[in-house]
């Protein structure tokens, strides 16, 4: 398990550091951060037990909306995390 997490992390750095890349590839790499994050995030918030779920049972989805707004306006990582966690705990406790 350790090996399969270590190899993808380390191999490109060890093999590719110091090499120069064609410009289009570098431009392509610029899109990787947002792409990876979005691809990991979407299933987290839209799926509930492997199904698309927009019902009230999927509180994580409903909490995501205000969390996005808070992230946009505060531009603050820690504040957004605390808001999301606190908000979800609140929703679960009272509804």
């Amino acid at each position: 398990m350790a090996l399969v997490t270590m190899i993808p992390r380390v191999a490109p750095i060890l093999l590719l550091s110091g090499k120069t890349f064609p410009k289009p590839f570098l431009m392509w790499l610029k899109y990787v951060p947002v792409a990876v994050l979005s691809a990991v995030l979407a299933p987290e918030i839209f799926l509930n037990d492997g199904q698309m779920d927009f019902s009230w049972a999927n509180k994580g989805f409903w909490m995501a909306c205000p969390t996005f707004a808070v992230a946009y306006f505060s531009q603050n990582l820690v504040f957004t995390i605390l808001f999301g966690m606190g908000g979800l705990a609140f929703l679960r406790f009272f509804f």
């Binding site: 350790a2 979005s38 969390t67 990582l77």
Partner: protein, 268 residues
Amino acid sequence: MNDEETQKTEISKISHQAALVATEDDETIIEKYVLPSQKSNPWLAGVRYALPVMIGFLPLSFAFGVMAKEAGLPFLATFLMSLVVFAGASQYIAVGLIAVSEPILSLVFTTFIVNLRHLLLSTALAPHLKSFSFSKRLLFGLELTDESFLLHSTWFKRHQAHPNRAIGTNMGPHLAWLTGTLLGYGTGSLIHNLEFLGLDYALPAMFIAMVVLQIKERSLILVSALCGSLPLLFYSLNFKTGAVILATLIGASVGLLLEQCRPKTTST
């Protein structure tokens, strides 16, 4: 393993400095080594830069510690997993699979697929690491995460990469991850319901914040929306194992195509 590496680099650093120090008088020593390190130790500056991520990692690893304890994982296995695997989602999956005694091979395979995306992250950072020695590249790579990757990619846009600083930015979150794991495992059976505190939402909330903070251009909104929808489509087609990495490859390529086709007026 990471600790060994750290120690080695620490030792070589110290002996290197000692050799330098021996040839200089006291005043230069104070000026050159003591004062700057007090003002701005690059490693510490790196850790400080990663502080938001560290705060986010505490509840995540805490949750992992609690889950591991609940599932009856031995302490050493739990700690080692956080030390050498150091991958949020995979560790949660692992605890779940171990709890239902799934064969170890399917666990390894799942972990491998989930973490293949690190190939992309690592590749994206590689061009910036020219000045790093082999052991520092190794140490840097081993502690790389999605979250610290974002910090690096933001930092490298404006600054030259500094080995110790970059390593600090990776190591801080790893230390937070270990601390949280220990605390969670220690608290263990006292907390039965993780949902109560919203601990399970630390990861989605962190990702929401990071997506929003990354989006500085219109084309990125489109890429983000596309990369968000594709995995959902793949999941509904029951194609799960490579969903994230395939969505990333497609999304980034579409982003590049858009940039190439568009007249260069608003590019940064």
